[in-house]
Symmetry: C2
Subunit: 393 residues, 2 copies
């Protein structure tokens, strides 16, 4: 039970700081640690929702910025949200739109009230505020929604990190207020959830102040934002480890926008529960595949052991996977299957030579097979991490 009196998140067991939990949402349960595949505009690249579910995904992520531009708020309200529109029946988390306004829009201007920006598609002008973000996420109909935040660019000055963090806290309060107006303050199981986002760059004191400010407002879950933006891996690990120690034990912890498999294993060992990342799909698009090093159960167990022992990200990765570039000449006559250990049937069925051939000839089936390989790798890794953390408390 937590401050708000509900029990939407339950930790069933721990292994060191790592947690095995269950997150209950209005659209179904999510077993954590969990990876959320990204359905940017309401589509999981080449895959059907049923296929993504079959790979083991229980929750997916939608991007508010993209969905606001296309299909737009009106279409989302008409169809009852993006979940029925795209045929995904399980839970969905949406970001606030803030991050992508900064990274994708043509022009953007932030003031204390919000952000005005031009669409990267047609140059049309839009305005996003904490209140509007809540309204659009409501139109999207997501199960878990994120506060609107001000994201400082990587390698900003301490002053800029502090400004963005303080502004994000003010926007957090406004997000919470508008969210409560929209969904009501009940703790009903039918209610969507709202997560706060910890900012503050690589400064531990700013991060701590940010977290405390968010806890004072009170959220259903807490996210770590503004990392994986160019800082050193050591800095990321340091901030995540220290924050995970301070974050409420009875709420889910979500690391936003990261990362490589070895990072996820490390963050799970620090006590983080939720992840999303473009890497599996983006790599697939370029023919870059994550392939298991031997048996997945053994590989993840060893990687998890190394993470708990504080070994480096390189050492963790080394236990987990080989990254192969399928377009490479050396796969021309490789008749072995894509990955004999994969949970994706297609990866055990089709050869590396065939997948290379599909990339060489520009056949979209290649993109589909590569996406299945990489997504299944991430999802299978999470399944094994849940096993690793399933020891009794």
């Amino acid at each position: 039970m937590n401050e708000a009196g509900n029990s939407s998140f339950n930790v069933q067991s721990m292994h060191g700081d790592a947690r095995r939990g269950t997150l209950s949402t209005m659209h179904g349960e999510v077993q954590t640690p969990v990876f959320m595949p990204i359905a940017t505009v309401g589509a999981l690249k080449t895959l059907l929702p049923s296929e993504v579910a079959n790979l083991g995904a229980s929750i997916i992520l939608g991007n508010t910025y993209h969905l606001l531009l296309r299909p737009g708020e009106e279409a989302l309200r008409r169809t009852g949200g993006v979940r029925p529109f795209m045929g995904w029946e399980g839970p969905m988390l949406t970001d606030s739109g803030g991050y992508q306004v900064f990274s994708l829009s043509k022009l953007n201007k932030t003031d204390d009230d919000g952000v005005t920006f031009q669409s990267h598609i047609d140059g049309s002008t839009h305005r996003l505020t904490a209140e509007r973000s809540m309204e659009i996420q409501d139109a999207i109909g997501s199960s878990i929604r994120m506060q609107f935040d001000d994201v400082a660019a990587g390698n900003s000055t301490r002053e800029r990190y502090e400004e963005a963090m303080e502004r994000s806290l003010r926007w957090a309060a406004r997000s919470k207020k508008r969210f409560d107006e929209i969904v009501g303050e009940s703790t009903d199981a039918e209610r969507p959830q709202l997560f706060g986002i910890v900012q503050g760059g690589t400064h531990e004191d700013l991060r701590a102040r940010s977290l405390q400010g968010l806890i004072d407002i009170g959220f259903d879950g807490y996210a770590i934002g503004g990392l994986s933006v160019g800082e050193s891996r050591e800095d990321t690990f340091r901030i995540v480890r220290s924050l995970a120690q301070q974050m409420p034990k009875d709420r889910p912890r979500y690391f936003m926008g990261g990362g490589m498999p070895e990072e996820i294993v490390a963050y799970v060992s620090f006590g983080v529960d939720m992840f999303d990342c473009v890497l599996p799909t983006r790599n697939a698009r370029h023919g870059s595949l994550f392939v298991w090093k031997g048996n997945p159960k053994n590989a993840v167990r060893e990687a998890f052991r190394r993470a708990q022992a504080g070994e480096s990200d390189v050492r963790i990765a080394d236990a987990l996977y080989e990254k192969i570039q399928i377009t490479n000449e050396r796969f021309t006559a490789d008749d072995g299957c894509i990955d004999s250990e994969s949970s994706a049937e297609t990866s055990r069925q089709f050869s590396r030579a065939y997948l290379r051939h599909l990339f060489q000839t520009g056949e979209t089936l290649g993109l589909r097979l590569a996406t299945l390989q990489n997504l299944s790798f991430y999802l299978q890794m999470m399944q094994e991490l849940r096993e690793c953390t399933a020891n009794p408390l």
Copy 2:
């Protein structure tokens, strides 16, 4: 039973001139009339072989020109042919490479012995003769192979049509000779089959001479080539109707590279058994969909009735389908499913508004859903045409 003493093709029933048959190949049986989806380089666009089979495809078509360039003869021999390479277990027909040498290669020069051409991909020089075509099709490992032919461009002079037809006959004899050397002259069920191709443009006398020349050589099946290349629909219908009357009754008849659904219905009514066409997949790529006009059984029955009554292609089409451009503004808020009558589950599951959204946002899932719609339309049409022709002799 036919001249060669085998019975690889059996006509079970007829309805007017239309035939309901069974074609036995070394890789399985094919129920005719049949449509063969095109797996150009060994991939059916966005689809897995199992999905194409589930839509009702029993035989697919591979392109010798494309497969010769990529993955190339060596890779094809190494993997035991393109069928195991791509995971297709059923029968496959290959064209001879001739047509695509003319339509795709950078430079090509025909002499009496064959064609020298430059790859459209890397400019490398290749040579194709009747003998080489047989050898490459053997490396591809197709169940049904086509003779090498000289294809006159549409709107050629009678002299050029005659030259191409005579040369094709000489190449037919050479194709047969080399084919027999490769596979042996047995009539074994394990033997691949070789089809001859009738040429002669829109000149009935040239067509008749071509057909007789081919019959004298003796083939497992006979194809109508060199049509759907710009001539009038009336000319095509006239030639196909007249040829179908003359073609051996105990051998399969294959119309190459055509066409629109109404053409296929007409040619079936004339007595043609086999078809292939890029239209369903090419249209899908551009968001152009064939959508059933009401119940498929009734639609095809009515179209078939009109074809048998000699009505125009426009009247036949009118009974069958509506062609919709899914990217059109008018589908923005169309929450109806893509095609409620489709045999493709995804077409009954996803809305037109969603499919339009996928095309607008460039998501490859849109290509997949559109391909499923169009391919299922053609395959379902063939299924209903087989019902139409299943009346007893």
